[in-house]
């Protein structure tokens, strides 16, 4: 099994020099350029899990989190799409997905896949379209 990215072997400097914006984006991900999960899309909705517990019911003690991870946890107390989190953090979508994947893997964040629009099966769900229509009419 591979070492988890937040294990101690991935030691990092807890920099406090206010130079975050100067950090090259993939430094934040400790060199990872691809997310471990490929199911996060631009509109996957993320919600911070309140009082997260592990598979045995024990409270999750978050492993080494970077400042960006903590910002995400704060941001997603109100559900937000991947694109919104990326915009708020001012990080590219691909970098944001890697950080989000870390938190989902630790059980700190839950991810809700977008509603699938199965066009091959004859177009989008009628109920869904009716709901969208109703919402738009109120604009």
């Amino acid at each position: 099994m591979n070492a988890l990215p937040w294990d101690d072997e991935y030691e990092y400097e807890d920099g406090d020099d206010g130079a975050d914006s100067m950090v090259r984006p993939y430094t934040i991900t400790r060199g990872r350029t691809a997310p471990e999960r490929d199911d996060l899309t631009l509109i996957t909705l993320l919600t911070t899990v309140p009082g997260p517990v592990d598979a045995y019911g024990a409270p999750v003690r978050p492993a080494r989190l970077q400042p960006e991870h903590r910002m995400i946890i704060d941001r997603c107390r109100t559900p937000a799409a991947v694109a919104e989190v990326a915009a708020d953090l001012d990080l590219p979508v691909s970098v944001t997905k890697i950080l989000l994947g870390d938190l989902v893997a630790q059980g700190l964040l839950s991810a809700r896949a977008p509603i699938s629009v199965a066009r091959a099966a004859g177009g989008a769900d009628r109920g869904l379209l009716a709901a969208v229509r109703e919402g738009l009419r109120r604009l």
Binding site: L45, A81, E84, P92, S94, D125, L129, L139
Partner: protein
């Protein structure tokens, strides 16, 4: 839907069209938040003209994207993504395009040709779309038939004319798209 509702789920609609036709303006006119901006890195294979070896070179490009949101209900959020102005970028961005409900192509009567690529793209991918003609101050000197002919638009594709700065026009364009989707044959 058989999934257990845990908070909201999302759908997306793409707002496309040539550079500077008013995509972000339309997104902003209907979005409940000021349009947000994010970036993505796209890796493109490019062949340099002076590259005699013929070997593809990978180039990484940063592409910006503006988007907005409309909360339809506690269970449903619609995201509107203004596609990057240069089509050659969003053509490669599968996550942007995959699973979209459909698209609104904005075209400017003074330079319709800048929106050809967007129309081609939706047609080739089989993504339903409507065309919103943006007229500055709502002044349109060309007939609908003229514009349709210039855009080589299929007769079944809905087309609206208006000013993208007006919320009612953005709303009507989105409603036209949903109606278009609902009118499509089932099965």
């Amino acid at each position: 839907m058989t999934t257990t509702p845990v908070g909201a789920a999302a759908v997306k609609i793409l707002i496309a069209g040539g550079f500077g036709v008013g995509k972000t303006t339309l997104v902003g006119s209907v979005s409940e938040v000021a349009p947000l901006r994010t970036e993505e890195y796209l890796t493109t294979a490019s062949v340099g003209v002076d590259d005699l070896s013929g070997v593809d070179q990978k180039t990484t490009t940063t592409v910006a994207l503006d988007f907005g949101r409309i909360t339809v209900s506690p269970e449903l959020v619609v995201y509107l993504f203004g596609t990057p102005g240069q089509e050659r970028f969003w053509f490669m961005w599968n996550d942007l395009v995959n699973g979209a409900l459909g698209g609104v192509v904005i075209a400017d009567t003074r330079r319709l040709e800048t929106s050809f690529a967007s129309i081609d793209f939706f047609e080739s991918r089989g993504i339903p779309f409507v065309v919103a003609i943006n007229c500055f101050h709502g002044v349109n000197t060309r007939s609908d038939a003229e514009i349709r002919a210039a855009l080589d638009l299929d007769p079944h594709v809905p087309m609206l004319v208006g000013d993208v700065r007006e919320r009612s026009f953005g709303r009507d364009a989105l409603l036209a798209l949903v109606d278009h989707l609902m009118a499509m044959p089932v099965g």
